[in-house]
């Protein structure tokens, strides 16, 4: 709509029985903060005389009205009629109900302010839906969900900015060895999509980037992206790897979950997209102390590596934003009873994924973790093979002391890991310690049965503690079904760690102005039938950032979010009136 479009607020008198209160500072607040016309219904004539009402609204040239006060509901109908008579749709009347708190107004003043602000911003958002929507879309996070969403939209012939914090796309899925229950190798099914993203003319991939500010209104977001330097020019790098060879600095690789070492200038993993090198600013000697710079000398492409590169901020205009920033694995060391970090052969599931991966530290051999001369813990091929492996479920999940929610994927990936172990070590004894086996998806239950047939021991009962006793990992578990205490010695323990909101989740929710639930996952306004729509029109959530889920569900959600985007662009309409109730209460 045009700039003639004006929101006004009408303060209704409280119904009889309520003592009227002095509105003056409330009015001042509205005038100063919201800068909109205020009408006060002092002597109840406003609603009693329809023409006066019409006149007043016309006089203030109002196109949307906020009815504020105690139980203003009773006036809604008349104002609606007035508005429709004036040629505006009925939704242009919004109720801000202070509830009975009005009586104790002094104590409630802050809430009333907040309420009015909330209502106002919503009305503004609604107003903006009708002005043309910016076609470009921003996708935050390039895990499988982000990738899927970007492809869906780009394949519709629309521009996408894919913003990834790390140096490559792929997210957690790239780290997995196989995927349950089909046992496709994760890389095999993910890399083509990554390549597609990398090559897609309509996807602008921005690695090492973060969203730092979002301004503007739905359909016209102005997003500030902070791009920290890679120090290697993505265009000119030919990925020959000479720099990495010569680089003197070694640090543990985050892609391999610290099971291997990488250089300060590195390629996150062989199939990384963009398949170019980058420099780890914290580790690089030149960037830290200003000496070295060997990479520049050996690089065959002149000017490809620029160690003086600085972060830059880019502003992007986008109509929609899809948030798919994924999750953070639970910190196993937080539960000291399991001795993670204390005993070398207590591994997290993610570490094990890397260990068992063909591209992992041992080329897929399951071996023990030992400490080398330099004191970093490493997996070496000749350290023998574990013969008894225990997998402990629900580490950090379903636990009031940590995360009360269920992480949804652990049971299944634990079964998968058990299968992979069985494949690699046919003679090994494998135990799963679980509370409830949650094999819920398509083909999952069948997979569970299959793993049992493969001779993996399923123990109902969660291991309580792991102690290292002369080289063996000693477990205490109650085998509930057999009805006895188990005291077992294991060679290796895998902790099925749960999922937690990413570190930047809170920050993002503030920047984007979208709600999070009590655990910090993003909140959908109507989870039951629309799990990707947030309280902010034009901002969508997809994947695990909304709550733990497996790959297919993340992919589906990503596409669903894309649907929201496409729909809004194709219909040039952002909001869905059910999301925006016409009545607001003090919460």
């Amino acid at each position: 709509m045009s700039e003639y479009d004006r929101i006004g607020i009408i303060f209704c008198d409280p119904p009889s029985g309520y003592t009227p209160v002095d509105l003056s500072d409330l009015i001042i607040f509205v005038r100063d903060n919201l800068k909109i016309p205020v009408i006060i219904d002092q002597s109840r004539y406003l609603f009693s005389d329809f023409h006066v009402l019409m006149e007043t609204i016309r006089h203030h040239r109002l196109t949307s009205v906020i009815l504020a006060g105690i139980r203003p509901e009773r006036f809604r109908q008349i104002v609606r009629t007035a508005m429709t008579k004036l040629g505006y749709q009925a939704e242009s009347v919004v109720i801000a109900d202070f509830g009975d708190t009005w009586c104790v107004y002094e104590s409630q003043v802050q809430n009333v302010y907040e309420l009015l602000e909330r209502v106002h911003s919503q009305v503004v958002d609604k107003r903006h839906q009708s002005s043309h929507i910016q076609q470009d879309t921003i996708v935050i996070g390039a895990g499988i969900a982000g990738i899927q969403a970007s492809l869906e939209i780009a394949n519709a012939g629309l521009k996408v900015y894919l913003i990834e914090k790390s140096g490559t796309i792929g997210g957690h899925m790239a780290k997995f060895d196989k995927t349950f229950p089909t046992l496709d190798c994760a890389a095999c099914i993910l890399t083509p999509k990554m390549v597609e993203v990398g090559q897609h003319p309509l996807i602008e991939l921005m690695t090492c980037s973060e969203v730092v500010a979002v301004n503007g209104t739905p359909g016209h977001y102005k997003v500030t992206v902070r791009q920290s330097p890679r120090w290697v020019d993505v265009k000119s790098c030919i990925g020959c790897g000479t720099c990495s060879e010569k680089c003197p600095v070694k640090v543990s690789s985050e892609f391999d979950e610290g099971t291997t070492m990488r250089k300060a200038i590195y390629m996150p993993f062989p199939q990384a997209v963009p398949n170019k090198y980058l420099i780890d600013g914290e580790a690089c000697r030149f960037i830290q102390e200003g000496k070295c710079g060997v990479c520049v000398k050996v690089c065959p492409v002149t000017g490809c590596i620029n160690l003086y590169e600085v972060p830059r901020e880019i502003e992007i205009e986008a109509g929609n934003i899809i948030v798919a920033n994924g999750f953070k694995p639970f910190q196993a060391s937080r539960i000291d009873r399991f001795g993670y970090g204390k005993y070398p052969n207590v591994l997290t599931s993610l570490e094990f994924e890397r260990l068992i991966n063909a591209a992992g530290p041992t080329g897929g051999e399951i071996t023990f973790r030992t400490t080398d001369k330099k004191g970093n813990s490493v997996f070496v091929n000749d350290s023998g093979k574990p013969q008894k492996i225990g997998i402990i479920h629900c580490v950090g999940s379903r636990d009031e002391n940590f995360n009360p929610y269920c992480s949804k994927v652990c049971c299944m990936y634990s079964l998968k890991l058990a299968h992979l172990v069985r494949e690699k070590l046919p003679s090994a004894e494998i135990f799963e310690y679980f509370i409830d086996m949650r094999a819920f998806g398509k083909g999952y239950e069948e997979f569970y049965c299959r793993i049992q047939d493969e001779g993996v021991r399923m123990i109902r009962g969660k291991t309580a503690r792991v102690d290292q006793i002369d080289g063996h990992l000693h477990l205490r578990t109650e085998d509930i079904i057999a009805g006895r205490m188990l005291e077992q010695d294991m060679d290796m323990i895998i902790l099925s760690i749960g999922l937690e909101p990413a570190d930047d989740q809170k920050k993002l929710s503030d920047i984007l102005g979208i709600d999070v639930d009590e655990y910090g996952w993003f909140k959908a306004v109507r989870y039951e039938i629309d799990p990707v729509r947030t309280n902010r029109p034009g901002i969508w959530i997809a994947g695990v950032c909304q709550g733990p889920k497996d790959i297919p569900d993340s992919v589906v959600q990503a596409s669903a979010a894309a649907a929201g985007v496409l729909q809004s662009i194709m219909s040039d309409r952002l909001t869905d009136s059910e999301v925006f109730p016409l009545t607001y209460m003090i919460n």
Partner: protein, 396 residues
Amino acid sequence: MISRVDPEFKQELHKYGLREWNECFHCGNCTAICPLTKDDNLFPRRGIRLAQMGLKKQLVSSVDPWLCYYCGECTETCPRNANPGELMMVLRRYLTSCYDWTGISRLFYTRKIWELAAIILIALGVIISFLVFLPPSPDLFSKPQAFINEQGGVMINSLANGISASRFVQLIEYGDLLMAILVAGFLISNIFHMFYRVILSDRNLKFPFYSYFTEFWSLIYNFVTQARFSKCDNRTYWIGHLLVMTGYTIMFTLIVAFLKEFQIEEIKPWYHWQRLLGYYSTFGILFFLIYTFIGRIRKTDLKMQFSHPSDWMFIVLLFFTAVTGILIHIFRVSGLPAATYFTYLIHLAFLVPMIVIEVPFSKWSHLAYRPFAVYFDRLRRAGQNRQSIVELTPAI
């Protein structure tokens, strides 16, 4: 016959001070974290399960609650905050009242006022009968020096009017014996009841008769050392417990069996055995009292977070008994006959109900039940060893 689940049973347990605990989803963490569980005694979880399902028979026939010493680790680490440790405590109370065939114990636990009334009643009874049979001699105030012996202490047995020292001791001894018989009577019958529920009522339990004797040592051993307790992480609690237990028993035996040697006119030098023993038990009891007082008030220790009235009742009684006991000693040594006489009176007014009420019917019965529980448990095992050991089966 197949037992039937009983959802009402929770209400029953509530009377014994049960708090929220139904959240338990049986992950088995509590059992596994407990340093005392092994083989097939799966407390606390199995106890929780039986309580949840209201399977009274199985509950009463299991000794598990007695094998738990409430170190609180299970409660700390419980993923559902279901507080298994506290439930064990509640079950102990419940079992105590189950073992007690008179039903008095149940009355005391579930209706607080009754316990209090009973105590007061007995206390009054003691005071009255004491004043009737051993009235204070009028000379107590007029010429107190008449009661002072050559060591300058009060001759404790000659304070009653017109009653010779030997007679005095004898009367007290009768009283003690009566009390002891009463207590022992109840306690032993209750223990037998326990024995019936745990061992005899279990038809398919078979073990060789000689195990009764072979396992007997464990009863003594556990009674004296509280060995299992020491396995819990918190040692001070065990020491405190050991001290009070031994102190208490020593005192008990002294006054019941050796009153003639213990309560004598002359004051022996401090290194004399009876004085040393007396000091030891006093110290033991005080140590424990202070420890628990602080604990229960500060609620620092998990196991002391929820205090059932019966817990307080016992501590209070014990406290006053101890204090008055000490006072008697002080007054004697400092030669104050009147004070000695009346403190002695009050001392008994606390001591008697403490023993008569607490030992057979309330908190203190566990002093006896715990070691017996271990004993019975070993008997059951002796039975199991003959059956084939349960094989590790994959869970369903």
